[in-house]
């Protein structure tokens, strides 16, 4: 049942509005919840959170817990996750080598240059035995934390690593799954990836985010759940080449996980 003050239109900040599944999602929201969803698309990850904080958005869906924690700490904000969507493994792709170990010394490897993907990418490279990070690395490592390395790490915009790989400018690249699909990188080219099921991957679960005051808003919670509708899921998989691992985690659990990661972030920042 809906209260009279429940919103009838909800604006959601995303970074991939061009994906067809968002249309499926919006149709579904109209049909099932009688809510009109409007999307605001951002090319830049640094914008949707401030925009949400400033009430220019009602929700956003583009980040994982790790990213949100980092934002909350650095921007001294208090945005909250209200629903999980999926975890995407972050694979290392190569077109000329069949496994990470085959990469020759000093081969160029591209990773995304934004703070979160960069740290995660470095952790992937560390797991693949291509670099070692100071103090074992964390979700806040950057290229300055590389301790020893077998390969040359270059940082690029997340949207450009696939292109660099395809053009032959790098021997291997960390490519976010959505870009990998768009770029048509074959699944077989993924020579290494982190394990989406492992606990270390838990902070990388993508989420719907709302302002703290709205974290119990019924409509928003329902909208978050709507992502797990099979028609939407099918669309998501289609767009991501079947790499998505869907997750349904209760909001409270997401919120406590966020708190943990934020505490780690504060500690890392000291």
């Amino acid at each position: 049942t809906r209260g009279s003050d429940d919103p009838k239109t909800v604006s959601i900040g995303v970074t991939d509005a061009s994906q067809p599944y968002w249309k499926t999602y919006a149709d579904l929201a109209k049909q099932k919840l009688d809510v009109t969803v409007s999307f605001v698309n951002f090319n830049d990850y640094s914008q949707p959170n401030p925009a949400l904080k400033q009430k220019q958005l009602d929700l956003n869906e583009f980040q994982h817990i790790q990213y949100l924690a980092n934002y909350n700490v650095t921007a001294k904000d208090d945005l909250q996750p209200i629903g999980a969507t999926a975890v995407y493994p972050l694979p290392l792709y190569s077109l000329n080598y069949k496994s990470a170990t085959e990469l020759p010394a000093n081969a160029k490897v591209a990773i995304p240059n934004d703070a979160i993907n960069q740290a995660r990418g470095l952790l992937v490279l560390q797991s693949a035995g291509l670099v070692t990070l100071k103090n074992g690395g964390s979700a806040f490592s950057s290229t300055t934390d590389i301790d020893t390395k077998k390969v040359d790490v270059v940082t690029l915009d997340a949207s450009q690593t696939a292109g660099a790989l395809k053009s032959g400018s790098v021997a291997a690249a960390i490519v976010n799954n959505n870009y990998a699909t768009s770029a048509g990188l074959p699944k077989t080219a993924a020579v290494f990836q982190d394990d989406p099921a492992s606990s270390s991957a838990a902070p990388y679960v993508n989420i719907f985010v709302a302002r703290a005051a709205d974290k119990d808003n019924a409509t928003y919670l329902k909208l978050a759940e709507l992502y797990q509708d099979p028609t939407v899921q099918a669309g998501v998989q289609e767009s991501n080449g079947g790499t998505a691992v869907f997750r349904t985690v209760p909001p409270a659990e997401l919120q406590s996980l966020l708190k943990t990661v934020q505490d780690q972030a504060v500690a890392a920042g000291k």
């Binding site: 061009s18 698309n41 830049d44 914008q47 925009a51 768009s182 048509g184």
Partner: protein, 219 residues
């Protein structure tokens, strides 16, 4: 191509947004930039209203603003934006930021072009007892009109290009469309069609600019 057709409404909307962003930015930024450019020109040592302090101040202001990366500039002026238009995202926010950015660029173009005006004609206007501000607007600018028109055309093209960054802030537009629906997804037909549309808009603008400049120059 199929995908392009399915995105047709978005494409149409993007065209509208681009027109909106570019038109307002060119007009607002153009006028603001004209004013700034006139100040830069008129206060320079030896000029009509020579004023070292103002000249240096405006010069520094322009130089401070122009090179700031657009993303940072946009973030930096968010407080101003909230006051002025009540939002920091969307088409209006991008238009606001682009207008400002364009103004600073325009000011330099105007300054350059006005500097080429022959001092003799300015003397003729001074001898007639005209006020400096009137000399600037009714003599100096008209004398430099041909290059000034081409300068505005240059900025117009620049704004169309910069409007591609509108996507960063949810501003939409053709540039964003080309990147989000096109290059990011390696969907080249979308890129081609969109870029072609941008180019057509720019060609039309340049054509108009060349035509007007030729009329103003009479050669």
């Amino acid at each position: 191509m199929d995908e392009f057709l399915s995105n047709l409404p978005v494409f149409r909307e993007a065209i509208g947004q681009t027109f909106y962003i570019v038109a307002i930015s060119v007009v607002v930024g153009g006028l603001l930039g004209l004013a700034l450019g006139l100040v830069l020109y008129a206060t320079r040592p030896g000029s009509l209203m020579a004023d070292r302090a103002v000249f240096i101040a405006v010069n520094i202001l322009v130089n401070v603003v122009r090179p700031i990366p657009f993303v940072i500039f946009l973030t930096a002026i968010q407080p101003l934006m909230l006051v002025a238009i009540g939002t920091t995202i969307g088409t209006n926010a991008v238009t606001f930021a682009l207008s400002l950015a364009a103004a600073f660029a325009v000011s330099r173009i105007i300054e350059q072009n006005l500097l080429a005006v022959e001092p003799g004609v300015i003397e003729a206007a001074r001898a007639a007892g005209a006020r400096p501000i009137s000399i600037l607007l009714t003599v100096v600018v008209p004398e430099a009109l041909g290059p000034v028109i081409l300068g505005y055309t240059f900025i117009f093209v620049g704004v169309v290009d910069m409007s591609a960054q509108a996507g960063l802030f949810g501003g939409g537009g053709l540039g964003d469309f080309a990147v989000t629906y096109g290059s990011q997804r390696y969907n080249w037909p979308v890129v081609y069609i969109t870029v072609a549309t941008i180019i057509v808009i720019v060609q039309a603008g340049q054509f108009a600019g060349n035509y007007l400049a030729r009329r103003a120059l009479r050669r």
